[in-house]
Symmetry: C2
Subunit: 494 residues, 2 copies
């Protein structure tokens, strides 16, 4: 077992150093590699395949609500970026500037999109003429660039992959409804597919998106008690429409401004999966998102018939079609298990460690004795629970094990979040929790930015959101003691 | 019929001005829009949906051959771009340079990737250590930027979408086999899915990719007789490996250089589809790639039951699962027809024109009389052939019509290509054809770059490729009269 030990030992334990544990996992699970382009990462096959599954499922959910995909240019002329005042202030300090095309300097410099509101608005200004053209429900999958100083793979990098939806509506109400609809779509996706519970709420003015009237967010709690903003949805009202003159003629032939939204999710979600579900043996992937759900590991594979049996099981599992909807959702595309055989010349123990490091939800061990007994061993990644299963029942048992694992992972993460969500009624309590207990803190707030700022200075906690599900913890603001307006969830964030 | 006429009249006829016809189609079929970013286009939903189908099917075919997807940074530091001599000479004059990040100038400027050989090589240099790591079969889907002076939507734009495969192999033979395998995969895709016949061959040294030992290409003939390079596959030998020191230890523990390939297809394919299949009423999409295969158009839709029947047919067609493999391939994902109902308040005639303009392969007309008779009318986009079909047999007939249309479109394009492929035995003949007969010209060549250059100067024809399927047209070079080495296909190209 010396080899396996080496592989496992090479991860720092979470307890010892969570940040180092994270870095070890992203490297050892072969999700990313550092590149020679500072602040940018190489997403390797195991990491990109997770992103492909996220894309596939989110895209399907988007399209069910009428969203269509488009593609906008990756460059934004400086004058276009400057059209909306708040927006340019928010982004100009962190964009990459293109100044030369080929051998010649550009007449006007352009930035690589940090986000594409300005491009969509510029497009909509011509594209939308009449109420018949509304709503416009467009989305794009692309990469964006923000010139961050300190970076970490998936969590904060100069370039990252994402989707950005940009919609235009006839009325304020429709825009608001779409903003909330997309936030709930994101939240449901996180909970149903990534087994990651989130708090749904609204950002304070201080934390909202540059140029938005309202920003809604989903906030997840990582294993170390830090918060991760996991998706946002913005209602722009008609602010961008006025800056870009996006007008339509309504049914009474009057000119009206459109109301707009935007919403996005990024490769940061992969970081969230790692930090919500991972353990000291590496990554743990929820079955629904796992690119490989089942790894078949032959034991004594040189013995006659063992490899053949492993391949036979793989082919059976690939071809399996369950009649139940649950199994369909499990397989994401309703098209059999995602399964591989590890037929390399490494030892079984080494293969077990690798399967664990990579977070593959289930392994199937099959050796000569198992074959003789018409059985195999199923091992769950999260609990390590072993199950001896008759080969005849393999598909049925796997569906059961993967479904159970998926729901138990969500349940476990939910319990962890609940156990690390605290309530503070006094500022002393708040400071105490902030200092000693990593997690979310619920506390009342007067709505004043000065208090928000003071809390941040005193405790490094930022307001994560004003949850939709409000509670009345106290009548007065935790900070200034004036009448409280709303309950805020606070936390230290990535 | 006044309205429909207006819509149709707004396209220039191919005969009158092919370039203008092309521009009209891309705009009127709502595939792209111009943007305020010079040389860059906005790909609208109807255009992007074609690209999504191209991606889905190509990606499936790639993965069947063992390819895995990854993502590399979009920026290349100047020193990295310069590592391979031929490569930098080929690309440096046409890249966009980033010189500032946020408010500060960069220590080293970086270009937006025009292609990612240098990034993959830089990555492989660390990633590949042992023969166990080979082959590496990586691909990425992304956008790239080349600072072109004159641009046309899909055909030549500063930014375009593509995939770029980059593989590393232990031996020269393996690299060559992969290079050819991918070229044939591209060719088969064009023929089977896009109904577009191509000539498979090798580029001359003058036309090959900057840094490659050999470039293979597929060349298609557009309706106007011009050639379009539609996909390329490059064998780099160990040139890049030596420049980037990509070495592995073989089974005898000796250090060896890897052998590499790269291969790419782009959004240019959408331009090819337009120019191979389009007609004076607009776009014509091959059924297998069409985002919408069937448009149901209700007649007298305000009459009771008409719209309901239209929706019922749509739902039936969506839910249809054929038992035959052919129908599965037709539906791309084996998941029913891609079908919509046009329930807008426009007139049926206007809807017919729009369906034709957008190239939707088949429309189903259904009105009160049809419903009373238990039938509907199917109209094929390419031939306008009308078929009265009993509603009971609709699915069956549609499969038949779409299959026939797909194969007849390929056949028609093949005949057009054959009818516009000429053979020249003398230079006089060559010049005559080049001047008067748009198309491919087959002629013998000595292999001397000077002759290739002279032919280009005299006739504006470039060597498209040296086809795998060689013919011996004459014994001597068409240009210099020396002994011929190979038959070349020449043409005027986009």
């Amino acid at each position: 077992m010396a080899e396996e030990k080496k592989l496992v030992e090479s991860i720092t334990s979470m307890e010892e150093d969570f940040a180092q544990w994270y870095t070890d996992v992203v490297r050892k699970a072969e999700l990313v590699d550092y590149s020679n382009v500072k602040g940018c990462m190489v997403i390797k096959p195991a990491g990109y395949a997770i992103w492909e599954n996220i894309q596939k499922e989110l895209d399907r959910r988007f399209k069910e609500t009428g969203v269509e995909n488009v593609y906008m240019p990756m460059l934004i002329p400086e004058s276009l970026l400057q059209k909306e005042k708040d927006h340019v202030e928010g982004f100009a300090p962190e964009v990459a500037w293109v100044t030369h095309g080929g051998l010649e300097p550009l007449q006007e410099r352009m930035c690589i999109r940090p986000t594409s509101e300005t491009l969509f608005c510029d497009f909509y200004a011509n594209d939308i003429q009449s109420y018949r053209d509304l709503p416009r429900l467009y989305n794009q999958w692309c990469s964006v660039m923000r010139w961050e100083k300190t970076t970490r793979p998936f969590l904060r990098s100069r370039e990252f992959l994402w989707q950005e939806g940009h919609t235009a509506h006839a009325t304020e109400e429709e825009a608001e409804a779409r903003t909330e609809q997309m936030l709930h779509l994101y939240a449901d996706f996180c909970e149903e597919v990534l087994a990651m519970p989130v708090i749904r709420g609204r950002k304070t003015d201080k934390e909202k998106f540059a140029g938005a009237n309202a920003t809604y967010t989903i906030e997840a709690l990582m294993h170390d008690g830090k918060a991760l903003q996991s998706g946002t949805s913005h209602n722009f009202g008609d602010g961008f429409a006025k800056a870009f003159e996006i007008q339509y003629t309504d049914k009474d032939n009057k000119l009206q401004y459109v109301h707009q939204t935007s919403w996005g999710m990024t490769t940061r979600l992969i970081g969230a999966i790692i930090m919500v579900h991972g353990d000291d043996s590496g990554l743990v992937l929820p079955p629904r998102i796992a690119p490989v759900q089942v790894m078949v590991i032959p034991i004594q594979q040189k013995k006659e018939g063992v490899l053949e049996k492993a391949y036979e099981l793989r082919d059976r599992l690939k071809a399996f079609r369950s009649g139940t909807a649950e199994a369909g959702a499990m397989a994401m595309a309703g098209s059999g298990f995602r399964v591989k055989v590890d037929d390399t010349d490494k030892s079984p123990g080494w293969k077990f460690s690798e399967q664990e490091m990579r977070g593959i939800p289930v392994r199937v061990e099959i050796g000569p004795k198992d074959i003789a007994n018409g059985q195999c061993v199923i091992v769950r990644r999260d609990t390590r629970e072993k199950l001896v299963v008759s080969l005849e029942e393999l598909e049925e048992k796997l569906v059961e094990v993967l479904e159970t694992m998926q729901s138990e992972m969500l349940e476990r993460a939910r319990k962890h979040q609940q156990a690390h969500t605290y309530t503070a009624a006094t500022y002393k309590e708040f400071q105490d929790i902030a200092e000693h207990k990593p997690g979310f803190i619920k506390a009342m707030w007067c709505g004043d930015a000065a208090c928000e700022e003071k809390i941040k200075e005193d405790t490094t906690c930022t307001s994560r959101c004003m949850p939709f599900a409000q509670e009345e913890i106290a009548e007065t603001c935790i900070c200034c003691g004036k009448k409280a307006k709303t309950m805020v969830v606070w936390g230290k964030a990535y």
